[in-house]
C-alpha cells in the first residue's frame, strides 16, 4: 500500500544522523520533525533566520515575533540561534546544512527538480527552494509518485519551470525510495505491499532495477 504522509516522513527520518543540521521544507518535510529518533540530536534550520527550531508553542507561549519559514508560530530549542536572512542563506549556500528535505511537482532522471511554478495556474514563487537545492549536497525530495490522475512525477525530462538543475540525488515517494545517478532512476526500496511492477508502471523516466528490491522497514 502507498505510504501515508506520516510514513513518508518517518522513512525520511531514518536518514537523519546524530549532529545533523537539517532544513525541512513546507508540507510533508515538516512532519519529519515528529519522527526524529530519540537517541540522536538534530538541529532544525528555518530559513527565515532560526537555527534550533522547537515545537509549536502552547497558547500561552505564542509570540508573533517567532515564526518558521512556513509562517507558523514556533518555539526555540535550547541552544538555538537567531540571525538575519543573508546569514541564513550563507549557511544554506555555503553548504553548511547537512540535509535538506523538500517537496516537488516533478523530478527527472538528470536530477532536475520543478517545484515552484505551474505557468498560468500557480505562481507563488520559489521562496528559499532555489537556494536550498543549489546549496545543499544532501537533498531528499518527498512527493507522491504520480498525480491523482495517475500521471508520473518521475520523468525523463521535467515539463515545468525548473527550481534547480542536476541537483537531486534522492527521492522518496509514497511508493518508492529512488536514487538518481548517471541519468537514470535506481529503485532502492519499495513501500510495504507495493510491487516493483506497480512502481515501473508509474515511473515515466528510465528506472533501473537491480536484484531483489527490499521493502521499507518501519519500527
Amino acid at each position: 500500500m502507498a505510504l501515508s504522509r506520516d510514513q513518508i516522513a518517518q522513512r525520511v527520518a531514518q536518514e537523519l544522523q546524530d549532529g545533523f543540521y537539517v532544513n525541512l521544507g513546507i508540507g510533508i518535510p515538516t512532519l519529519v520533525a515528529n519522527f526524529i529518533p530519540k537517541d540522536i540530536e538534530v538541529m532544525l534550520q528555518s530559513e527565515n533566520g532560526l537555527l534550533g527550531m522547537g515545537a509549536f508553542p502552547t497558547e500561552d507561549e505564542v509570540d508573533a515575533d517567532l515564526i518558521n519559514a512556513g509562517k507558523q508560530t514556533v518555539t526555540m530549542a535550547a541552544g538555538a540561534s537567531i540571525f538575519d536572512s543573508a546569514e541564513s542563506f550563507a549557511m544554506i549556500r555555503g553548504g553548511h546544512v547537512d540535509l535538506t528535505v523538500l517537496g516537488a511537482f516533478e523530478v527527472d532522471v538528470n536530477g532536475n527538480i520543478a517545484s515552484y511554478m505551474i505557468p498560468g495556474k500557480l505562481i507563488k514563487g520559489m521562496g528559499g527552494a532555489m537556494d536550498l537545492v543549489a546549496g545543499a549536497d544532501n537533498i531528499i525530495v518527498t512527493m507522491t509518485h504520480a498525480s491523482k490522475h495517475g500521471e508520473s512525477k518521475l520523468l525523463s525530462n521535467c515539463t515545468l519551470p525548473l527550481t534547480g538543475k542536476g541537483c537531486i540525488k534522492k527521492v522518496l515517494t509514497d511508493l518508492a525510495f529512488i536514487e538518481i545517478k548517471a541519468g537514470k532512476f535506481h529503485l532502492l526500496e519499495r513501500a510495504p505491499g507495493v510491487s516493483v511492477a506497480e512502481i515501473i508502471e508509474l515511473t515515466q523516466g528510465e528506472l533501473v532495477i537491480e536484484g531483489e528490491i527490499p521493502e521499507m522497514k518501519f519500527s
Binding site: T58, D63, V74, I82, G125, G127, A134
Partner: protein
C-alpha cells in the same frame, strides 16, 4: 543641534520625500517584523508607481497588501507572493509586474546594495527561469549567474529597540530581512517599539549600527499572526 539624534515625531515626517515611482526596500518575512505603520503611512500618502522590494507582499488588508487596492505598487521584487487574492488578480491581469527572486539572492542583493558591491555570482537559479538574460560564468568547474545589487530610494524597517542615535536591536525572527534592508536605503526609516538614550544599549548587542539609519520613530504594533499554530498545554 540634533547631531546623531534620528528621532522624528510624526509618520508624515518619517516618510517625507517619498514620491511617485520610487523604489522602496521593506524588511519583514510574511507578516513577521514588517514596518506596518510605515506601510500605512505610504497608503495614506497615496504614492503610486512604486517598486517594492520585499520577501512577500503581505495579505489582503494588511502589510504591503494595503498598497494593492489603490494600485500604488507597479512592480514587486519578491521570493514568495502566494498569500493574497488581490495580488494574484493584479499579477494575472498584468497591472502589477512581479520579479520572482530566490530568497537568498534577494537577501544578498540587499546586503550587496548596502555594502557598495554592484553584483555577485551565485549558483542559485542556474538552469532555471531566474537565469534568463543573466551573465553566466564558471568558477572551479561550477556554473554561476551574475545577480545585481539593489539600492532603494527608501528602506522601511521594523526593529524592536533603538537608541536615539539609531542603533538597532531586533527581536527573534522579526529580524529576518530588516538589518539588510536598513543598509540598502538612500533614506532608511526605522520604526521601533521602544527608544532609549544613547549608552543604554550594550554596544556588543547592537545588530544594526546607527550609521545606516536616517529616521527613527516609536510606535505600537498590531503584529498580526499569519499561521497561529499551537500544541496543547502539558505536552
Amino acid at each position: 543641534m540634533s547631531g546623531f539624534d534620528k528621532v522624528v515625531h510624526s509618520y508624515e515626517e518619517a516618510m517625507a520625500g517619498l514620491t511617485d515611482n520610487m523604489t522602496i526596500i521593506a524588511g519583514g518575512f510574511g507578516l513577521c517584523g514588517i514596518p506596518e505603520n510605515l506601510i500605512s503611512e505610504i497608503k495614506h500618502k497615496g504614492t503610486r508607481g512604486l517598486t517594492l522590494v520585499s520577501n512577500n507582499c503581505g495579505v489582503d488588508g494588511f502589510g504591503l497588501g494595503l498598497l494593492l487596492p489603490d494600485r500604488q505598487i507597479s512592480k514587486i521584487i519578491a521570493s514568495y507572493v502566494g498569500e493574497n487574492a488581490e495580488f494574484e488578480r493584479q499579477m494575472m491581469s498584468g497591472e502589477l509586474s512581479v520579479e520572482l527572486t530566490p530568497q537568498g539572492t534577494l537577501a544578498e542583493k540587499m546586503r550587496a546594495g548596502g555594502a557598495g558591491i554592484p553584483a555577485f555570482y551565485t549558483a542559485t537559479g542556474v538552469g532555471t527561469p531566474v537565469a534568463e538574460g543573466k551573465d553566466e560564468r564558471q568558477f572551479n568547474g561550477r556554473d554561476y549567474i551574475l545577480e545585481e545589487a539593489i539600492v532603494g530610494d527608501f528602506a522601511i524597517v521594523k526593529a524592536w529597540k533603538a537608541d536615539r542615535y539609531g542603533n538597532l536591536v531586533f527581536r527573534k525572527t522579526a529580524r529576518n530581512f530588516n538589518p539588510l534592508a536598513a543598509t540598502a536605503g538612500k533614506i532608511t526609516v526605522v520604526e521601533v517599539e521602544e527608544i532609549v538614550e544613547p549608552g543604554q544599549l550594550d554596544p556588543d548587542e547592537i545588530h544594526t549600527p546607527g550609521i545606516y539609519v536616517n529616521r527613527l520613530i516609536q510606535s505600537t504594533f498590531e503584529k498580526r499572526i499569519e499561521q497561529r499554530t499551537t500544541r496543547p498545554a502539558g505536552e
